[in-house]
Amino acid sequence: MKCRKRARCAVIVLLLCTLLILCLCSCWSKRELNTLAIVLGTGLDVGDQPDTLKLTAQVVKASEIGAGSAFKGGGSGEKAYVNISHTDKSVLSAVRGITHMQNRRLYFAHNEVLIFSSDLAKLDMAEGLDTFIRDHESRMHVNVLISRGKASEILKEEAELEKMPALHISGMMENQQSNSETVVVTLRDFAIAALSGSTAPVAPMIELYESEGKKHVKLEGTAVFKQGKMIGELDKTQTRGLLWVTDKAKSGAVTVDTQGGQVVLEILHSSSSLKPVKDEDGTIRMELSISGEGFIEGNETNKDMSRLDNVEMLKERMKDAIRSDVGRAFEQAKMLSADIFGFGTAIRREYPEEWEVMKENWDTVFPKIDLNIRVNFKLRSTGGLTEPVVPGGEQ
């Protein structure tokens, strides 16, 4: 009896094992590495037909990544990427359209940059944004950039220190903290600004320039959006002004003019806070206080900048420089009537009832809002030198 039971048991176990093997061999959504085209950068342009867009995906050529130049010698190696473009009515149909041309399917989980051409951004950003945020494959920490000119051209730049233009750009974005002249915006930041209802989203701008016959990219300026469309730009100083207000300016070099020449100050760290204040008559104005610390990075004059009166003078110049940056950014924002600083959000948080009234015609109220700037800047040291290398002037 026992023996038979055991035999039956064994048969059942065997059957179960066979069944389980079926689960192991494959599953529906499997993705083998050799069937994937790993996308590192995506560019979106206006298509040549009306109502279409052109998607350019930069795909890694894994075999070329590993091939070191030591074996091949400079210049003989092939490019480590392929740019695949397709024009179609929507992002997704363009992505699927690429399957007509390639044996691998685009895989967006490792996408690092998403570049919109400014032409497309002026028409409509919504579609690309929605698709890239909604899709389960792509991630929200993708850097968003706006290109002057075609996005597909940007992805063709001839980067010299990096094999992949997309990685070059995303690496560049990580470095931008040290100059505080470029906004670094991820899809999530963009979406949060767009969803706030009052804040105008911003994104860094990228453009091509030619040097020694090669095309390179550089980051310059900021694109400003409203209702999902690009409506204007900020230049370098205005961008820095924006970063001061939004507490993103953390480091950077500021050159101030003195009587004897230029002095370069480096910002070590800084922080700012933006607060709406209600006056007695009920109007709301914004109080911005910026505090920062820095040291002397370069002295082109022949004066001793360690003297306390000079230190005071430098501090004043620095404060003026910050004020003027912020002022310029504010002027530009007023002109565009775009709340790039998030004043609306700050007011909503602090004075929700007043905000209910203001939000109806925020576009006209925003340019009339007063901004008070208080700057507190400390000069910590003169760096490695106390006196200039070439002395002169009054000591």
Binding site: C27, S29, R139, L195, R349, E350
Partner: protein, 390 residues
Amino acid sequence: MNPEMKKISWKELMFAVFCFMHSTILRSGFIISGTRNDSWAMAFTGLLFTLPIVAIYVALLRKFPGKSLIEIDDIIFGPVVGKVVSVLYLFFFVSLAVLNTRDLGNFVVDYMMPETPIEAIILLFLIGCVYAIHKGIENLMHLSTLLCIIAVGAVVINSILVLKDVQPGFLRPFFQLDLMKYVQGTVSVAAVPMGEILAFTMITPMLGKRKKAAKPLWLGLIFSAVSMTIVMLRDIITLGPLVSIVSLPSFESIRYVSLGGILTRMESIYAVVLVVLFLFKVSILLYAFVLGLTQILSGKGRTSPDTDNADQSPEAESPLNPKNHPPLVLISAALVFFYSIFVFESVMENMNWGATTAPFFSLTFELLLPAVSLLVASLRKIGKVREVKA
């Protein structure tokens, strides 16, 4: 079978309650989409709303110590009406099992394996549940401590990882929405994750008659409310206004984690915890259903209040253990399988149900029926008279 084997401790039950609710807490999108940046407060108000509901269960369990909900029905309403009430409860249990199974299926299909048919995922998932029940629900209860540590650990780790990206300002302004939204949010929290504690009235007999069932239920509930607050706060301060438009706030907030380009894609932690907790929850619901079904089918209609033979544990008496009825477990799992495939056509339907109908559906079983039971019991003066506290 050995009744000693079936005993669980009150701590295990408490952790089980926590794990049971935590699975729903992790997918709190349906609450956050309504009350937005104030959702964290709903955990408190929802808890306050749930306290009287759980007080009813506790009162019922005190009146009839060592009895399960289905047995209590028979005692209160008599063999015929009691069966009808019991069938209603069973319908509720099986519906909850179905809805949760469907939720899990949707999650896996939407975020990980979009091309896989949902049937395959649900089938594999239910095989896991059946296996768990077959091995004995008490083992699952013993595991609850471990699961609880994993779940809490995941919340802690994920919260630390998102610290870099949080903006506490997203919480403000406080309480600016319509009052109705908050009422809705409170009822949703009370009815959907918290009230589902009703299923544990099928498990409490495992504590044995000597032990009080109240303490683990209360403590589990309070711990869940605390963890719910933390999870929601985290999601709100990481995602800001995005929190109310994404389908799974916790998933998205963890997805953004990127520390030094190395610690990324942490949502796999979340996914694993979610699947394991859902397995736990559906197993308990399925067990509650199967146990109830066994008790009804075995025809133990006891009309007289049964307070004297306090020493006999109910499991020891009879084949009331679903372990002895494997076909019933399998058939129930098959029922859940087909029901969960047909229950909703899409996630949108599911969300609509969750936002509009689910609270009322759930409260019918979680509040109305137990309240009526308690009322009838006290009117008919059955059960232990002491400590009637509602």
